[in-house]
């Protein structure tokens, strides 16, 4: 079975590289985007199996990008997990309301995140 393709949308180079390496170690193929616009373009030209979306990203932020993804029938089926560093109250509800399939906070607890990813990829 070919590995699951994960699109990682994150503007912070360090965090993106770190997560990319850890996911690769865990058997995923990781594609990278630096902002929401680029993420949507990549999804349209080469759809991944799942998107990990940092919410505070430039050009088009994670909230707006997810809304566009979920409104676009071509890519709306691809699960999106929101990642935010704020862990503010209401962020979870906000993420789910704008169409995210799940939500996690940074710093990422890898086991927990992998669990959520596997759950969504099984669907």
């Amino acid at each position: 079975m070919s590995p699951h393709r994960i699109l990682l949308v994150e503007d912070n180079d360090t965090n993106r590289e770190m997560l990319q390496r850890r996911l690769t170690r865990n058997g995923f193929q990781v594609l990278e985007a630096l902002d929401g616009r680029q993420a949507i373009d990549m999804m349209l030209s080469d759809p991944p199996d799942l998107v990990l979306m940092d919410m505070s990203i430039p050009v088009l932020d994670g909230w707006a990008a997810t809304q566009q993804i979920k409104a676009d029938a071509r890519i709306s089926h691809i699960p999106v997990i929101a990642l935010t560093a704020h862990a503010m109250v209401g962020e979870r509800e906000k993420a789910l309301a704008c169409g995210c399939d799940d939500y996690d906070i940074k710093p990422v607890e890898l086991e927990r995140l992998l669990g959520k990813m596997k759950h969504l990829l099984k669907r």
């Binding site: 912070n12 360090t14 965090n15 770190m18 997560l19 390496r21 850890r22 170690r25 560093a85 704020h86 862990a87 503010m88 109250v89 209401g90 509800e93 940074k106 710093p107 990422v108 890898l110």
Partner: protein, 658 residues
């Protein structure tokens, strides 16, 4: 006039005495004319206003409204108050002294009227309150500055916490990554060092989370996210997270859950975090000892209070009374030597207390130095409905006294915690509640008090809800009392077929409950209207319009639910939409027309559909009027309803038991 005045020793007070008081009093005394001139002033007043003598003051200050008050409208305000009340007390104003410097004065004044009832002059005293005003102003500024500082601090902490998390993300993530990759490459040289880096990062993260939590609480940005959850399941999660902590100090950890704690309606994250804080705290201050967590429903004098209690008892170092007092203060550990020995931020307990209080509960501690501590956290079973404070002592009333003709609802439920919740909801509607905790007592009470409504739990030991229901329906005295079933199991069809008037699944939804009361307790002389409309917004708008016009309204979101409603109730008029999913308005009104009891109920059709002649022919004669959505006004609607309710006045039918 003054001659008759005597002091206590019989000394007759002379005019010279009064003059002395007038001349030497520290308060200013004056008499002024209505037109704004001074007629009299004592030396103290001249001094307060900055004049050399009363004579100078009287000669110079001839237009009080223009010359004295800083606020030009102040004299007008003074005159208005005098006309209204004849006197003013503590009338505080900023005034100009002779040298144009500004001071604050306070006046007590009365108006003197002539025989025609007109005020001819004012007499009053004046105090210089500039110092007090200045102090007040300084206090106010200091308070504002402190509040501003506190806000800024909270904002700063929140921002900093966020900024700190980003690099920490890398510290923790990369140390984990290196451990993983080292493991893959079978290199173990750095295992311990990497563990240390990761552990330190994790510790720092927890600290930042605590600071962030507290900052959020202080800046009022913490919100509650309420949900229903199973307590035992949550405890399993907490236990799994806590086990490493328990093992660290070689402690034993025991959990005792009362089998009937069940579910709680609260903020899961905050309850879990609070518990975690309390238990990890107990583990931290206990070595080679015992930490016990017990969870139960609180009762007082055998009556459920509506609180769940989480009790955490340890055999650790304990605290002195002084330490106990301060233990919930932020940034304070029991004492600073503890910080060096035990580490931690000292924020955990402060956060726990804030969380508990936000949810309407609290956390308390009892402790003995060297013996251990017991923390007790109380959270309402349903945070959205604060429990009633049970006054002590509160014996259960076995023979409730029911005032004649009162609005009494009988609740029959073996679950004690439901009673205070329902009572509170009934109270809000001006209703009284009588409690029974089993079916037999319930029936007996019902016969005695003949309640307005019975609320009945289904699952009860002994005689269950169904049995009570069938007894009630067999009893000619009780059978007309409406019954609402309240239960954990959804068995609505059976309930309605047995003649239940309404049905609610626990936990009690306040809005639903109130709607149920409204519907079931409509008194005989007010009409009510059933709205059948699938669009929530339209239905809601219509409901508000009708309620404002004085009608009681029942709502159905589909024709099917309307029919269900009609089986047990008799509205005086029905307003129905035409285009609805499932059974549409044409089918619905036709079904009404074909039913013996329902065909008399007038129906107004309210539709957005363009009505054709064919449509009109398809509608049965019980449809009295067709109103086009958007083309009728509020008044027209109300006029139509009035006309048809009046024309077809039907005797009120009590919910007919089947």
């Amino acid at each position: 006039m003054v001659n008759s005045l005597q002091d206590v020793d019989g000394y007759v007070v002379t005019d010279a005495d009064f003059r002395g008081i007038f001349e030497h009093l520290v308060e200013g005394i004056y008499r002024t004319a209505v037109d704004g001139r001074f007629l009299l002033a004592n030396p103290a007043l001249a001094a307060i206003y900055g004049y050399a003598s009363p004579a100078e003051l009287i000669a110079t200050l001839t237009k009080i409204d223009e010359q004295l008050y800083v606020d030009a409208d102040r004299r007008g305000e003074f005159i208005r108050l005098m006309e209204e009340h004849d006197c003013v007390w503590s009338f505080e104003s900023a005034i100009y002294r002779k040298d144009r410097s500004i001071i604050w004065i306070s006046e007590n004044v009365r108006g003197i009227r002539n025989s025609a009832g007109q005020i001819v002059y004012y007499e009053g005293t004046v105090q210089d309150i500039t110092e007090r005003k200045r102090a007040e102003e300084e206090l106010r500024r200091a308070k504002e500055a402190a509040e501003e500082l506190s806000r800024a601090k909270s904002q700063f902490l929140a921002n900093m916490s966020h900024e700190l998390r980003t690099p920490l993300n890398a510290v923790i993530g990369y140390s984990e990554l290196m451990m993983e990759e080292a493991h893959d490459a079978d290199i173990h040289l750095f295992d311990k060092d990497l563990q240390t880096v990761r552990g330190a990062g994790q510790q720092l993260l927890e600290l930042i989370n605590d600071v962030l939590d507290l900052a959020r609480i202080e800046s009022g940005k913490t919100e509650l996210f309420l949900e229903q959850f199973d307590i035992a399941t949550m405890l399993n999660d907490v236990e799994a997270t806590l086990l490493p902590l328990v093992r660290n100090n070689r402690n034993h950890f025991g959990i005792r859950i009362d089998p009937n704690v069940g579910c709680i309606h609260a903020d899961l994250t905050k309850v879990r975090q609070s518990l975690f804080n309390l238990v990890s705290n107990a583990c931290k201050f206990t070595e080679d000892g015992q930490v016990d967590l017990s969870v139960y429903r609180e009762t007082r004098n055998g009556v459920a209070t509506g609180y769940i209690v989480f009790q955490i008892k340890d055999t650790g170092v304990g605290m002195t009374p002084y330490q106990m007092e301060r233990v919930f203060e932020p940034f304070v550990q029991a004492d600073s030597s503890m910080t060096r020995k035990y580490g931690g931020t000292g924020l955990g307990l402060a956060i726990t207390r804030e969380f508990c209080r936000m949810m309407g509960g609290d956390v308390t501690v009892e402790s003995e130095l060297g013996k251990g501590s017991t923390f007790q956290m109380r959270i309402p079973l349903d945070v959205s409905v604060p429990p009633i404070v049970v006054e002590e002592p509160s014996p259960i009333e076995l023979e409730p006294e029911i005032p004649a003709g009162s609005q009494v609802v009988l609740l029959i439920d073996d679950d004690e915690s439901v009673h205070p919740v329902v009572e509170r909801l009934l109270e809000k509607e001006g209703l009284e509640m009588v409690s029974a905790f089993n079916g037999r007592d319930g029936l007996e009470l019902a016969r005695k008090i003949h309640p307005l409504l019975m609320i009945l739990d289904v699952i009860m030991p002994g005689m269950d809800g169904w049995a009570v229901l069938s007894k009630v329906k067999e009893d000619p005295v009780l059978r007309d009392i409406p019954i609402a079933m309240l239960t954990m199991v959804d068995d609505r069809e059976l309930a309605f077929s047995l003649g239940v008037s309404d049905y609610m699944v626990k936990p009690i939804n306040r809005v639903r409950f109130r709607a149920m009361l409204k519907r079931l307790l409509i008194s005989d002389d007010t009409g009510y209207i059933l709205i059948v409309e699938d669009n929530d917004q339209t239905r809601h708008m219509l409901k508000i319009t009708l309620e404002q016009a004085g009608w009681t309204v029942a709502e159905a979101y589909s024709a099917h639910s309307a029919i269900e409603h009609l089986k047990h109730h008799s509205p005086q008029l029905i307003i129905s939409d035409l285009m609805m999913p499932g059974m549409d308005g044409f089918q619905f009104t036709t079904q009404l027309q074909n039913h013996l009891e329902w065909k008399e109920i007038p129906v107004l059709v309210l539709t957005a559909k363009e009505i054709t002649d064919e449509d009109r022919r398809a509608l049965p004669p019980n449809v009295k009027q067709i109103l086009q959505k958007g083309s009728y006004g509020r008044e027209e609607l109300i006029r139509e309803i009035r006309a048809h309710i009046h024309d077809h006045e039907i005797p009120h039918l009590t919910p007919s038991p089947h």
